[in-house]
């Protein structure tokens, strides 16, 4: 029952969006879609998406090859640095860049910032796949007369293709649903246009129609990702990698050139944003800082994201336990329903909740519970994944033993399954909390007047060009977000420790 409730909540926004878009009749919606401005918008958004995705694939695969297959000074450091940009919200990076170089605004700036923020989505799976592939395959190709470059192209790249594809699709989804970077870079992508059309007019049907178009595109991309994952299974089946690939040594000149490339990527993705942030903090220190407002925003951020994480986990536990233990059709449908949020951009979820709230949930309209509901819809997939993975980790044998010792199914859940899954679930909660803290568009649209989060303050101050005033909020956000991140990496290290002890 609770699992079904979670699934319904996750599907609610999507359903309501359809109702709302058809409010003025299907004719209006179709007329609106046929406008030139609409098709231009679709082309613009897809253009940005394709550009960023291609750039991320090139950058991500390149870095993955460099850090896993080449003898490079400070390899471990480069691996960490290459993954780090994931921790920086796109609007923080956009803030840092536009405050340093206002002329970047537009397509170029949006593409630069989004590439710098999202290439780890390709880098991480590509690097993992590269270090897993069996070197015997490559050796066989070489012994059959292929040059190293031919071998790389025809053997190695083929093996990591599914990993790269799933990463690239994540990037595409991210770019389509990103609001912070495109709005700060003043590039009229889907999310930005939906936001202005919602803010600018009393007629909200166009916003709903555009949201639906965006959802259709993201769902198409998600389905593409699912299909590519299905193929990936077959790919991995034969890869019983007994050995790890040995990194190749390069000539001194080439090594230096590679190092130069690594430094450049790190500078663009991390160096410039951090330097710019540091500059504005120093500049801002001379200004009068409204400490109480900063503290208030910090507290609101913590409360909202904490409640969001709690809500997600409470709803995710029944779904995750069911998904890990029972693979019936009904369970699969419930699980897939909760994954709707995965394909829904934050701004769309926010709009759907607003439409729903004005009609049926007036008391909650633009109140905190609405923000939390948006967080739950958006991040339930992550929480379900965490619960499911940690429940699947413990053996069903252990649960059977508990049953044979006289415990009821519910008793087993309470005394065995959940205590065992607790560390993983807690890590999932921390991850969701971190994601909630960084969430911008839904929070921006739904937050109650007068209580603002750090992300909202940062965004609105940057929009009006008050870069120095925005700096403390950016710094506070990064610091607060570091807390769950630190706890996460600490917890996962501890878990590794205990796993080593048990045989």
């Amino acid at each position: 029952m609770p699992a079904v409730a979670a699934a319904l909540l996750a599907l609610l926004p999507l359903g309501y969006l359809v109702v709302r878009a058809g409010d003025k009749g299907a004719g209006f919606a179709f007329d609106y879609l046929r406008r030139d401005s609409t098709s231009e918008l679709v082309l613009r958004s897809l253009g940005l998406t394709v550009t960023v995705t291609v750039a991320c694939v090139v950058l991500g695969v390149g870095l993955a090859v460099v850090t896993t297959r080449i003898v490079l000074p400070g390899r471990a450091l480069w691996m960490t640095l290459a993954a780090l940009p994931l921790a920086i919200p796109s609007y923080v990076s956009a803030y840092a860049w536009i405050s340093a170089l206002p002329s970047l605004a537009g397509f170029g700036g949006a593409a630069l910032v989004l590439t710098a923020c999202t290439y780890p989505y390709v880098y991480l799976p590509a690097a993992a796949a590269l270090s897993r592939t069996d070197p015997a395959l490559e050796e066989v190709a070489r012994s059959l007369g292929r040059t190293p470059w031919q071998t790389f192209r025809t053997v190695t790249l083929r093996q990591i293709r599914p990993a790269v594809a799933s990463g690239a699709l994540l990037v595409a989804l991210y770019v389509l649903s990103d609001f912070g970077a495109v709005s700060l870079m003043r590039f009229d992508a889907f999310t930005q246009v939906i936001y202005t059309s919602y803010r600018a007019s009393f007629d909200r049907t166009p916003a709903a129609v555009l949201s639906l178009v965006l959802v259709v595109i993201t769902i198409a991309i998600t389905l593409g990702e699912v299909r590519s994952r299905g193929r990936a299974q077959q790919w991995r089946a034969g890869a019983g990698a007994a050995r790890r690939p040995v990194p190749q040594a390069l000539s001194r000149g080439r090594t230096l050139a590679t190092l130069g490339g690594c430094v450049a990527v790190a500078l663009v993705s991390l160096g410039v944003p951090l330097a710019s942030l540091g500059y504005w903090i120093v500049r801002g220190a001379s200004l009068d800082l409204d400490w109480s407002r900063l503290a208030g925003a910090g507290a609101t951020t913590m409360v909202a994201s904490g409640a969001g994480a709690l809500g997600c986990v409470v709803l995710a536990v029944p779904v995750g336990v069911l998904a890990a233990r029972y693979r019936s059709t009904g369970v699969r449908m419930i699980e897939q329903a909760t994954f709707a949020g995965h394909a829904l951009p934050g701004i769309v979820v926010a709009l759907a909740l607003i439409f729903f709230g004005t009609r049926y949930a007036r008391p909650f309209y633009l109140e905190m519970p609405m923000v939390i509901a948006a967080y739950v819809v958006l991040f339930l997939p992550a929480a379900v994944g965490a619960v499911r993975a940690s429940v699947a980790l413990s053996s069903p044998r252990v649960e059977e033993v508990a049953r044979s010792l006289g415990r009821s199914p519910y008793g087993v859940l309470r005394t065995v399954t959940l205590p065992l899954a607790a560390p993983g679930v807690a890590a999932g909660a921390a991850l969701v909390m971190l994601t909630c803290m960084k969430e911008l568009p839904a929070t921006l649209l739904l937050h109650p007047t007068g209580s603002e989060t750090l992300a909202i303050r940062l965004w609105s101050l940057t929009r009006v060009g008050s870069y120095a005033d925005a700096a403390p909020y950016a710094a506070a956000l990064v610091l607060l977000a570091a807390l769950p991140t630190f706890w996460l990496s600490h917890a996962s290290r501890q878990r590794h420790h205990t796993e080593e002890l048990s045989p």
Partner: protein, 337 residues
């Protein structure tokens, strides 16, 4: 009185029939081994008895109660049947004591359950505070046994509990486990594919193949009087000789042998390698192969005047090519072909 009674049990997975009308009885207070090759359905049987899975048809009785029958399924927690799984499956978040008392109800726990005594019984005295991750594989199995004994169950099921351990430990632990089970007066069903383990630890051995119990008897009887050639081959090494039976006797290249039951016609005589005595009397045979195992030597021999090749367990040095004399000791069994 039999504690467990299984009647005409059927179980299929998809189109694959795993149990085909299986019958089995386990006497109260006994340790019965179900012996069979991998994939013969032993573990399926055990899971049905425990109540983890449902049978397609057939009946399972525990004491006087029917726990599984068509349209009837007592859930595992109501059966008072505990299990010792292959990998122990200790609760990793609980210490040894908490693991052992897991199945003991609160009232008895408060009344001072005999945890200490049980841990002593399985040789884990004083280790109640350890976590499962701090125990060796053998220790984990001991705790799993104590945990299964703690609620005084009707029946304990042991699913290849020693398979994951190394050879030396396996030997000593199975002796100790059998002793602990007898001391506790428990009724136990041990599932294994290891002949030696079944024969040496159990009071009775049920040989299973193709989803049915082929023979259920004492270890000695199963070993020396197998009901068919399949059982004979599976329970231990078998020496097979072409034979012709005429009433109470059968004739082979090694002479005339008295049969436990009269038979007629062509067939096979089966005996065990240690029943072939290498000595001064008997039929001549040439050594084809000699393999030394430390405590004994196994000779492969070709019998004079026949194409039969046999194996004999003996001691001493018999180089390849030498001729020895062979004599059959003890009873043999005959299977008509």
């Amino acid at each position: 009185m039999s504690r467990l009674q299984v009647k005409a049990l059927d179980k299929s997975f998809g189109s694959q029939a795993v149990l085909r009308g299986l019958d089995l009885e386990v006497a109260s207070g006994s340790l019965t081994a179900v012996l069979g090759p991998s994939g013969c359905g032993k573990t399926t049987l055990l899971r049905l008895v425990a109540g983890f899975d449902r049978a397609d048809s057939g009946e399972i009785r525990l004491g006087d109660a029917v726990v599984a029958a068509p349209g009837r399924h007592t859930p595992p927690e109501k059966r008072q049947v505990t299990v010792v799984p292959q990998e122990g499956a200790l609760f990793p978040h609980l210490d040894v004591t908490a693991n052992v008392v897991f199945g003991v109800d609160r009232a008895r726990r408060r009344a001072g359950h005999r945890v200490v005594e049980l841990l002593e019984l399985v040789g884990m005295g004083g280790l109640g505070g350890r976590m499962p991750s701090e125990l060796s594989g053998g220790q984990q199995q001991r705790v799993a046994l104590a945990r299964a004994l703690a609620p005084d169950p009707q029946l304990i099921l042991l699913d290849e509990p020693f398979a994951a351990l190394d050879a030396g430990l396996r030997l000593s632990l199975r002796v100790e486990v059998a002793a602990a089970l007898r001391l506790a007066g428990a009724t136990a069903l041990l599932v294994t594919h290891d002949q030696e383990e079944a024969l040496s630890t159990a009071d009775s051995v049920a040989v299973m193949a193709d989803g049915v119990i082929r023979q259920h008897a004492s270890p000695l009887e199963v070993y020396h009087q197998p009901v068919d050639l399949g059982v004979a081959r599976f329970v231990g090494e078998a020496v097979e000789l072409a034979a012709v039976a005429d009433g109470p006797y059968a004739t082979t290249a090694l002479g005339r042998h008295r049969l436990p039951m009269s038979a007629c016609g062509a067939g096979v005589v089966v005996l065990r390698p240690e029943q072939l005595a290498v000595g001064a009397n008997g039929v001549s045979a040439t050594v084809v192969e000699e393999r030394f195992f430390g405590t004994s030597t196994v000779l492969t021999l070709r019998l004079a005047g026949s194409s039969d090749v046999v194996r004999a367990r003996t001691t001493g040095n018999h180089p390849i090519g030498t001729t020895v004399k062979l004599q059959v000791l003890g009873p043999v069994v005959f299977f008509a072909i």
